[in-house]
Amino acid sequence: MKNIKVLGSGCKNCETTAKLIAIAAEQAGVDIELEKVTDMAEILGFGVMSTPGVVVDGQVVHAGGLPGPDQVRQWVSSE
């Protein structure tokens, strides 16, 4: 199962990003583990300063701004 983390201090864009991922996973019929990381030390630990950031299985795939729909679909798909 994929583990996806959304990094962000709880701003609106971060919430929306988490929602987009959850919806995309449901549409793709993929089970994912979605985590919201709000702890600053942990967020910066990933090397991300611009939130929201997205981490898929330990790999930073996105930082800053809302991700595009294609991106989100790619994250949840099980290649």
């Binding site: 864009n13 300063m49 939130t51 930073v60 595009g68």
Partner: protein, 317 residues
């Protein structure tokens, strides 16, 4: 072109007289909405296509390990081309300090970034002309430069929350951007959507305020109360701007209406800067990383700087 469009809509389609306050307000509103949004979409798209916008992570890489003046120069100029959501200012602040970037330089960046950006710059040129655009940008850069130095001079480090110094930042291999034309196009569209989604409210609000000011505030009232050449007009403009917040683009139509009614250039610039760069919500976000004393100092340094800019330009013109 936009003028004709607005004239057609307001005076002909709705049949409102061009002499009435309502007519002149509406004309201002329709013209500015059309002009500013067309410009906004075009600039953001082109910037996205060129991938000309920098990420704060990249800026951190460039600025770290440089001598002070170089770091500051880069922070100020890169701040102008690095858009970031105010909700990112806390991680950004910590990330900069963690990289060993001096606190004063970090503040220079935090001052420059909301006040100046390439989008606002193009709209400034489009609405107020290149002379005022240059004045605004130049004074913004100068304020960011010296604002950061002032913070350093007061040793603001003592007011940084202790936990900030303990955070270790990881090195992330950021995904390499898709450089194909299709990738660029998609990125540019996403940028347009993201940035417009974030600022459209401020822009509409700004145009609305500008339109009301333009149509309903009598010239005599303005020349008596706002443009009488009194020394206290600038400080009042700055103080008024502190609780008011708008995006840098949103304040431009307000400035347009003020200048149109004969408010002095310095007073207008001071208000613009105060509204764009000094905002209560932004300050409260920074409270997570710095103590009240530093916040108060930050606000005071900026307010003084804006007043001086205002006085300077009022004195010159």
């Amino acid at each position: 072109m936009f003028d004709l469009f607005a004239q057609f809509i307001v005076y002909q389609l709705f049949g409102i007289s061009s002499d009435s306050a309502l007519g002149s307000s509406l004309h201002f509103f329709v013209m500015d909405v059309a002009k500013i949004f067309v410009l906004l979409i075009a600039i953001i798209y082109v910037m996205g296509l060129l991938r000309a916008l920098l990420s704060p992570e990249r800026v951190r890489q460039y600025v770290r390990n440089r001598p002070d003046w170089q770091a500051r120069g880069m922070a100020v100029t890169l701040g102008a081309v690095t858009p970031f959501c105010s909700c990112s200012s806390v991680p950004l602040f910590i990330g900069f300090l963690e990289a060993g970037i001096p606190l004063g330089v970090t503040f220079s960046f935090l001052i420059a970034s909301p006040m100046i950006n390439e989008v606002a710059a193009v709209i400034l040129v489009g609405i107020l002309g290149w002379k005022l655009a240059l004045l605004y940008i130049a004074s913004g850069l100068v304020v960011a430069w010296f604002g950061g130095i002032a913070m350093q001079w007061f040793r603001a480090e003592q007011w940084v929350e202790a936990y900030v110094w303990k955070i270790q930042m990881g090195e992330a291999a950021l995904a390499t951007p898709d450089k194909s034309l299709k990738g660029r196009h998609q990125f540019a569209l996403a940028e347009v959507k993201e940035i417009l989604g974030r600022i459209w409210k401020w822009v509409l609000l700004g145009i609305g305020v500008g339109a009301l000011f333009h149509g309903y505030i009598p010239n005599d009232w303005v020349s008596e109360h706002l443009a009488a050449g009194k020394w206290y007009e600038v400080p009042i403009a700055v103080i008024l701007g502190i609780p008011l917040y708008s995006n840098a683009t949103g304040i431009i139509p307000v400035a347009e209406a003020m200048l149109g009614k004969g408010v002095a250039v310095g007073t207008t610039l001071a208000l613009m800067m105060s509204v764009a760069a000094l905002s209560l919500p932004e300050m409260l976000i920074l409270r997570k990383v710095i103590k009240w004393q530093a916040l108060a100092l930050f606000a005071a340094v900026l307010a003084v700087a804006f007043v001086m800019v205002g006085w300077l330009f009022n004195g010159l013109t």
